[in-house]
Symmetry: C2
Subunit: 325 residues, 2 copies
Amino acid sequence: MNPVLVELSRGERVESWHRGAVAVADAAGRLVWSIGDVERLIYPRSALKMLQALPLVETGAADAYGLSNRELALACASHSGEAFHVETVAAWLHKIGCSESDLACGPPPGLTRAHHNCSGKHTGFLTVARHIGAPTDGYQEPDHPVQRLALGGMAEMAGVDPAALPVAIDGCTAPAAALSLTALATAMGRLADPAGLGEGRAAAARRLDAAVKAEPLYVAGTGRACTALIEAAGGAASVKTGAEGAYVAVISKLGLGVALKIDDGAGRGAETAIAAVLARLGVVDPADATVAALIQPPVTNSVGRVVGQRRPSTDLLAALQALDP
Amino acid sequence: MNPVLVELSRGERVESWHRGAVAVADAAGRLVWSIGDVERLIYPRSALKMLQALPLVETGAADAYGLSNRELALACASHSGEAFHVETVAAWLHKIGCSESDLACGPPPGLTRAHHNCSGKHTGFLTVARHIGAPTDGYQEPDHPVQRLALGGMAEMAGVDPAALPVAIDGCTAPAAALSLTALATAMGRLADPAGLGEGRAAAARRLDAAVKAEPLYVAGTGRACTALIEAAGGAASVKTGAEGAYVAVISKLGLGVALKIDDGAGRGAETAIAAVLARLGVVDPADATVAALIQPPVTNSVGRVVGQRRPSTDLLAALQALDP
């Protein structure tokens, strides 16, 4: 039974709450701090994107096609489908001799496939397929060479057996692997401190992390939590949300990885929890207005009056005292 | 610690889950069936609207202004702001000599106050104020005569001390009372079987229940769960959702009331749980497509492939075996 990590008050009472678990690990796979059950397998969903993008750099595809930080950030993104996202994806598709019809992710209602929040990840997959001479058709299937590279790299980074990696299907049609939070935090710790990895893998980790930090608007979008936290961290960390309450952070400043999952899948719970952990680690300043708006935003009513608050639970705050930055 | 009531699967695994509690009670306040902690106080939010509308009928205001089933249903509604909702509210406001500017609920972004999902409830409050000769200004304040009537009636129906009723502020600026699920289910049981109430209260309960059943589109809107469940129940029950995972049902066919709250506030969890309870009670047919779409909807990806399922938990299904219809 996971503890309450985040609660919402109304008046004098707690109205709703979010349970979950958080793991903080280093590149050696050492669990530095945790709360809740961090061994149960969860679906990190889009929180896997920085791992899924490793082959894009590691195979040489990114260099072969001259990809910029914006394109690499989009490969790691769940973007908002703003014009600059869609236009960058479209130009990238053109550069690799593909078009929107090659994307396996379906279009959001009334929009094009390039508007799908995962279109950058998918264009990254297509770029790898082009570069290694694999067919573009079926690139999203788990047994396609592109996905074998992505899943194999992910398993290595997480320190798990790739043959035993459970894989379901994500909203965008790509494989959705399941990992424990400990394994996921370890993978993020290795992105944060890649010195112990092979040379090509380490270079890929550093380049993706740098791209995400350089182009936070391309990782999410205007007003989004990931964009705000990457900007607030000022180069100390990359972060990435995943559907159904997942969140990861790659803290290069400390050589640590963070992974969390809210049991009920609520993004609002995940945003408050990751912001509280990053604040405790000194990666973001809780006095920063955009950070405070994630850690303890007011609940307002339809005329703007404050009627409650979202905030880290006392259990989370107490447990965080043992997380020594 | 409340049990898991609803879970979401992806592939072979459960990805997210929703904990909560449910109470089923009769008009005598007897707890017929329950799961989870049904004594803790929760905010039913808009699930209180049928109770808050009692004074509208009971004071004679509804008759004095010749209100139709549509207007009474809107008084009990969290409507979607469709044209027919907004136009009916506007005409009703005109009929009582008020205008949109008298509504205390704020406008949704870019829209008018009549579009607010609670505009029918607020117009009902204004109608009571007009009828009893109270000022319309400040009608949403807990100490205004209109709210004293509403809170007093609610406390009587729930069998609690009105002086001890905790009250916070709702999203629409009206009072948000806190009740236990047992008390809330009792109040709904009394709406379902009002024979033991005073004559005026009983008539008001029957008239509101009939209005909700007659005009389910005015209680919620196109494609909404409340509308679908009232239609599927075919006169056997009224239902009403509340923000943050609350739901109630008034089952006139059985003389029972149902009240539930999902701990984390998820509407998707509340919809599946209430539909499962109503199906077990024989009030709705789980083979009905609109009911099945609430009890166990598929989780589909962006190309329409089924990748998982939302469903009642095995704990809820097992516990429901003891709920004898």
